[in-house]
Amino acid sequence: MSKPLEHIRNFAIIAHIDHGKSTLADRLIQTCGGLEAREMTEQVLDNMELEQERGITIKAQTVRLTYKAKDGIEYQLNLMDTPGHVDFSYEVSRSLASCEGSLLVVDSTQGVEAQTLANVYQAIDNNHDIVPVINKIDLPAADIEAAKKEVEDVIGLDASEAIPCSGKTGEGIDDLLEAIITKLPPPKGDTEAPTKALLVDSWYDSYLGVVILVRVIDGTLKKGQKIRFMNTGATRDIDRVGIFTPKHVMLDELGPGEMGFITAGIKEISDTQVGDTITDEKYQCETALTGFKPSVPMVFCSFYPIDNGEYEKLKDSLSRLALNDASLHFEAESSQALGMGFRCGFLGLLHMEIIQERLAREFDLDLIPTAPSVVYQIYDMKGGMTELYNPVDMPDPTHIEHIEEPWIKATILTPDEFLGGLLTLCEERRGSQIELTYAGARAMLVYRLPLNEVVFDFYDRLKSISKGYASFDYELDGYAENDLIKLDIRVNDEPVDALAMIVHRSQAERRGRHLCERLKDLIPRQMFKIAIQAAIGGKIIARENVSAMRKDVTAKCYGGDITRKKKLLEKQKKGKKKMRQYGNVEIPQSAFIAALKMGDEK
């Protein structure tokens, strides 16, 4: 039997990255007995290898907890841990749509940050009740009062009853659990009405096939029930109903207000649509739920396999990743220099980096990524518009009437002392200031910036200028015309597709020069001199040389070293495969990758 609605609470945990959501979730799970102590790893919900290693949450996660409250009643708590990074705000928005309340976690040593704001506004938009949680109070630098004051001053939420706690030591967790049941509302719903459930997310599981995360609004979802997906029109039989505790636990049914998962013999994730409404095939509900806006990729880059034989493997691997990542877009593409590959769209730079890392790690693919770029709108002389996804495809300038680029509205929160440096950064990046206010002990800076200037290395620069203290969030803010040109990088007179980029004319020289300097440091010396140039059309705007190698001979080589030397040689040869030939020099792809990754900080 499903729980009475008033004994259910659905809530999301939202916070700026690293403020301790996942750790707090661990404590809640542990306190409610979802896992025994010996089963607890740190950040149990971050089960991707990459999540654990980087300490970030990429996918939102759901767990059902059973909490015996002080009033003697056993409550069902459905918790969603959400990603904190701006790239994954889309994941956050979906989670929020399936809950009634949020725990807003603020690190008591850091205070409110840009993504605290972004996430809390999303929660407010979703009509959430919000419980502020002041976390990490075990730290000596914790300042509970200052954090509370920021919640009030910056966000405008009443923080007088904020819960101080520590996800690490467990202090305050009991108060937090009580606050969840007393301060957050129970879900609404009707047991008798026709089944209506929200398809929150879906992913591929190698044991279960496609798993669908659902939030039941009305009615029930039962094993064996024939259901209909209202948008796609597909009908299926439910073969499993279950919840995460976080272990998979199979149940017979899910009732109104409850969250859990179903499987329904679906093989491909593309057969499901996030935001779809699930209803009973026989007794259909009348109106579908509003669903979600589709995610829009903001940053594009291409991946080419270093070994051209791995094209098919890359294709399969991307499809596999896309199974669990609706935001990953990809499309086949070919490049003169790099062969066959894929143009991919991402939510942001972190998303891109993560996908690249997963391809390398989980699928053992060596890839050449091209410079990240945004989507430009190219207007031709006849008034037609085409979208340009890859700088290499830029038409001849004589055919272009004008080019428009996407802009963003960026919000930056920073301690006072770094304001100067950050203003300079924004100005350098062609930004125009919209707002500068003081919020608590910090400045809040709102700027309009070209997205192009941000995808490159803005975030790294922001972190380094502010010693890691400033935080940043952005939203898209339309297109605008600008004086944009294509910058080519040439190695020994041959253009390197992967490094072509579109830049504002005023930035071209600086970018070109820095990239040449970077490459100079990154390309190992070889037998022959290497010339690196940056060019606009036929005009060289910067150049550097890598001088020829002078000495590399190993000092000792005796009988026992022959085998070792030969292995080294084989490695060298294998390494060659990962290089691209430019004239008589070979450039390791890692050099390009590093050049792209690095900022243009001097």
């Binding site: 270093i306 062969g339 070889q526 001979v553 000092a555 080589c557 085998t563 040869k573 060659k576």
Partner: protein, 396 residues
């Protein structure tokens, strides 16, 4: 050029008194070594190889390590005797022992001579005490010089090793040290640039930036200076790091560089053996204890032999041969592989390298110039043809 049928025996003694921080040789510090057990194991191993490659004439025996001067002379003698019983040996056989120049070991030189050793190679490494200390050595300069004296009294042929391009060493320091070193030589000297080898103490220290070593440019200057000084003293390099008066080259090491055959006995020892025209690479168990056990159980501590296919024979012979001042015979390489040298070497690259002044291609000989030798590691893959399928797409 390569003389056909050269054959040597390498004996590896895997123990040292202490592990030097730069050393990646198979050397171990152990107490209570049972010398009888080790002697028997070497003797059984000799028997084993002698039965596999019986009809050869031994030109050289080399006791390397580790620190073979820690062996008891009786063991050395028994090994030499057994080799002489099992194989034919040449009249002017060279029998070298690596020795560390501590006083204790120097006192044994006479006994080693009596055991049959006729050449020693001393690990002097440096001629100043602070660098010796940095290098973790057990001796000081005075002891080293004394050991050289004793070596000279006992052996007509001796050599010693120095390591240079040390942290903080200047070109001037090295020049002075080198000039001094030359005065103690008698026809042979090995001079190695300090190499930071994976898995050593120095590797960690270096990674943690506890010291720096000369970069490429300075390293090249050190190398050039070394060549100049030694040439002026008629001790030119006959190999990258080995200098000798004409005729005083180490015959044993020449076997390696000429890609001749050698038996490798002892923990971690490698060998190359030609049997019925097939070449095999041999490798013994690295761990002293396991090696001993295998010899006791099976009569040998060697891993299964690995065949060396023609292309690898060609590449190995080229790699080794190019280290020599006199270069490598293309005919010899062709004999190794049973194929034309052009099948493996890119002739255009040979010509290009010759044009750059890196090598000389004359008659059937390929010889690197001084400039070429400096770039040897890159030169070998440059000269070799890309044998495996090229990546399908090359830059437009």
């Amino acid at each position: 050029m390569k003389q056909q049928g050269q054959f040597g025996v390498y004996i590896h003694w895997p123990f040292c008194l202490a592990k030097c921080p730069y050393c990646d040789f198979n050397s171990h510090v152990r107490e209570g070594i049972d010398h009888d057990l080790w002697r028997d194991a070497y003797l059984r191993s000799i028997d084993h190889y002698a039965s596999l490659v019986p009809a050869r004439q031994v030109e050289s025996i080399y006791f390397g390590g580790g620190t073979p001067s820690l062996m008891v002379p009786e063991t050395v003698e028994a090994i030499i005797d057994r080799i002489q019983q099992k194989w034919q040996v040449s009249n002017d056989i060279e029998i070298t022992l690596e020795a560390n120049p501590t006083s204790v070991e120097a006192e044994k030189f006479r006994a080693f001579r009596e055991a049959g050793i006729n050449r020693v190679s001393l690990g002097v490494q440096a001629l100043n005490n602070s660098d010796l200390k940095f290098l973790g050595r057990q001796h000081n300069v005075k002891e080293a010089l004394k050991a050289i004296d004793i070596a000279r009294e006992n052996f007509y042929r001796y050599s010693f090793d120095l390591i240079y391009a040390r942290p903080k060493q200047t070109l001037k320091d090295w020049q002075e040290e080198l000039e001094r070193a030359v005065t103690y030589t008698n026809g042979h000297l090995s001079l190695y640039q300090l190499t930071i080898e994976r898995g050593t103490q120095f590797y960690q220290d270096y990674a943690q930036k506890k010291f720096v070593v000369p970069g490429e440019e300075l390293a090249a200057d050190f190398y050039n200076l070394t060549q100049d000084v030694l040439e002026a003293h008629n001790l030119p390099a006959y190999e990258v790091s080995n200098h000798a008066r004409a005729g005083d080259e180490s015959r044993h090491n020449l076997i390696y560089w000429h890609y001749g055959d050698y038996v490798g006995i002892g923990p971690g020892a490698h060998g190359r053996l030609t049997m019925e025209d097939n070449k095999f690479a041999t490798r013994e168990h690295r761990s002293p204890e396991i090696w001993l056990e295998r010899v006791a159980e099976q009569g040998s501590g060697v891993h299964p032999f690995e065949g060396v296919p023609p292309e690898d024979r060609f590449v190995e012979a080229l790699m080794m041969g190019l280290r020599l001042r006199d270069g490598v015979s293309l005919l010899a390489l062709e004999r190794e592989a049973g194929q034309n040298w052009q099948d493996f070497i890119d002739e255009d690259h040979v010509n290009q390298a010759a044009k750059e002044g890196w090598l000389v291609h004359q008659d059937d000989c390929l010889r690197l110039t001084h400039e070429g030798l400096l770039r040897l590691n890159a030169m070998v893959p440059y000269l070799l043809r890309e044998r495996r399928a090229q990546p399908a797409v090359v830059a437009a």
